[in-house]
């Protein structure tokens, strides 16, 4: 990669095959506005939730395409390549998330459908009528999802670079395509493109996990070579060290509890046609987790193939470029790049819905019409994506990665406000708000004090900070609730005695 002649390092077969599927999804993105056409697109239920009509299969593709992001395809094998078994926490995480989805999300959907809620913050407001908690949930969602969008663009940038294209222009072009069709078609665009994305990803990954180990002498040889590489490096390994076991388990649990609190996953859930659609999806979505487990193994295949990269995030593109002929590598890169477009679109829609419903309509223009809401959301979705683009172009990549880590911690602190009310009426809103504030503040402080590490040592045991903050959050909420409710009951008794 040292050539100075422009175009000298471009992988033409890869680039040509890359452009074709990208062109296809661009057309689909615009056509999507007419798919299951509503009488009017000028309503947030249509633009922001696709009309709440997606059945089991569309939801399966949409949520699968939205939850298993391009960044996952880049970052999980990168962590496995660098650290070994520890990177596999993504597997228990994306398994235990489904019992949680099954138990929680159909109830949340029913509450949202009954009252016409579009966002999690709408649900919280409808339930508690307490503005500070609604604002807390809305702001947390918007801020937590922004770096996540930036990482999707980073995913696109990584594969573009792997094809030998330099500079920001290809990334800006991909971004513009994404921004414009999301603007015009809303959630229908990623829902339709998700079919292509997931199809391409399945083809690429199944080919890779069959063909690459064959070249390397089978899975036994891949594991053996990876183990040898870790031993030579003196870091990482095929099994967890005893001190890694608790961080592994708490990262898995905390990530699973946070996963469906994000605006993009909630948007996917609220767009389904029924609570039963969500239950069936909890049963069917684990199919993607098998795929994720296989994707994670690409990290070991890269070690076994002797792939050497300056930055671990390049490991999957580098492996594909090394093993596959140019045209198939281009096809695989297109799958990853299109894989970034689906979640990036849904994320910006989720953030736009939050801003429109819970900030703009509440504080800026309470008299907004349905058409006005949809128009504001469309513009905000553009602004959010533009912010993510500027972030990736002008700031060090590490900032986006660090912020995404903090985003996971932050979004997890909305779990009590969003979920507990489905199962118990015990908690009052000010107590939940106080718990949220302490969880966010304390958790962020610990992460910064530890030098932006996700795991904090508690009495010699490493624990995921997000989960730690959630425990403190719940304890504060329970304590505050006892104090506040105790006070209210006393007041009621005094009143009754007169």
């Amino acid at each position: 990669m040292s050539g100075s002649i422009p175009g000298a390092n471009i992988h033409w077969p890869a680039l040509i095959v890359f452009v074709a599927p990208f062109g296809l999804v661009t057309v689909m993105g615009f056509v999507a506005a007419r798919w299951r056409r509503p009488s009017s697109m000028a309503h947030l239920d249509e633009w922001g939730l696709g009309g709440r009509q997606f059945g089991t299969w569309i939801t399966w593709f949409l949520v699968g395409g939205d939850f298993y992001t391009a960044y996952t395809i880049i970052a999980v094998p990168a962590l496995v390549y660098a650290a070994g078994a520890y990177g596999f926490f993504a597997l228990p995480y994306t398994i235990i998330v489904y019992p949680l989805v099954f138990a929680i999300m159909p109830r949340l959907w029913e509450e949202a459908k009954r009252h016409g809620h579009v966002t999690a913050a709408d649900v919280v407001h409808g339930r508690y009528r307490y503005r500070p908690l609604e604002l807390a949930v809305a702001l947390t969602g918007i801020i937590a999802v922004m770096p996540y969008i930036a990482l999707q663009l980073l995913g696109i940038q990584t594969v573009i670079e792997a094809m030998g294209l330099k500079g920001e222009i290809p990334l800006v072009a991909a971004f513009l395509i994404l921004a414009i069709y999301t603007y015009s078609s809303g959630l229908r665009a990623p829902a339709l493109i998700a079919f292509v994305k997931d199809g391409l990803i399945y083809v690429v990954v199944l080919t890779a996990v069959a063909a690459i180990p064959m070249r390397l002498g089978g899975y036994g040889a891949v594991f053996h070579a990876a183990g040898t590489a870790f031993a030579a490096k003196g870091a990482g390994g095929l099994l967890l060290r005893p001190a890694q076991m608790l961080p592994f388990a708490t990262l898995a649990l905390g990530s699973a509890m946070a996963a469906f609190m994000y605006p993009h996953t909630i948007t996917g859930i609220f767009a389904s046609s029924s609570a039963d659609t969500i239950r069936k999806n909890a049963i069917l979505l684990p199919a993607y987790t098998v795929l994720l487990g296989l994707i994670a193994l690409l990290g070991y295949m890269a070690l076994a193939a002797g792939v050497k990269v300056a930055n671990a995030t390049q490991v999957v593109p580098a492996l594909f470029a090394m093993i596959f002929p140019g045209w198939f590598a281009g096809f695989a890169f297109a799958a990853i790049a299109i894989g970034a477009l689906v979640p990036a679109a849904v994320m910006s829609i989720g953030a736009a819905n939050l801003f429109t419903r819970n900030i703009w309509k509440r504080y800026i223009n309470p008299g907004a019409t349905a058409a006005g809401e949809a128009q504001v959301a469309k513009i905000v979705s553009l602004a959010v994506k533009l912010g993510a683009l500027l972030f990736i172009v002008f700031l060090p990549t590490q900032y986006a990665i660090d912020l995404q880590l903090l985003g996971g911690l932050w979004i997890l602190q909305t779990f009590p406000a969003v979920v507990l009310g489905l199962f118990t009426g015990w908690f009052c809103a000010p107590a939940l708000f106080l718990g949220w504030a302490v969880g966010i503040g304390g958790g962020s402080w610990v992460v910064f004090a530890d030098g932006l590490k996700p795991v904090h040592s508690v009495m010699g045991h490493g624990v995921y900070v997000g989960l730690l903050a959630l425990v403190v959050n719940l304890a504060v909420a329970a304590l505050a609730n006892l104090v506040l409710r105790g006070g209210r009951e006393t007041r009621l008794e005094t009143m009754n005695s007169f």
């Binding site: 596999f88 228990p92 489904y98 899975y219 099994l239 076991m245 649990l253 098998v290």
Partner: protein, 54 residues
């Protein structure tokens, strides 16, 4: 619904599966055990779906 607690126990208690053996198709136990929980969890969810009170 109590069935749905099983994946949490099986996957979050890491000492259950942090072993190299027995291997399956070249996969150390740590890896195929976790992958095996994917269809098992789907099955448990399906059972919970069938049995849920309506």
């Amino acid at each position: 619904m109590w069935l749905l607690v099983l994946p949490f126990i099986g996957l979050l208690w890491v000492p259950f599966y942090n072993h190299p053996t027995p291997e399956l198709f070249g996969f150390p136990f740590f890896y195929w055990y976790q992958l095996a929980w994917v269809p098992v969890t789907s099955l448990l969810l399906w059972l919970a779906y069938r049995r849920r009170p309506r």
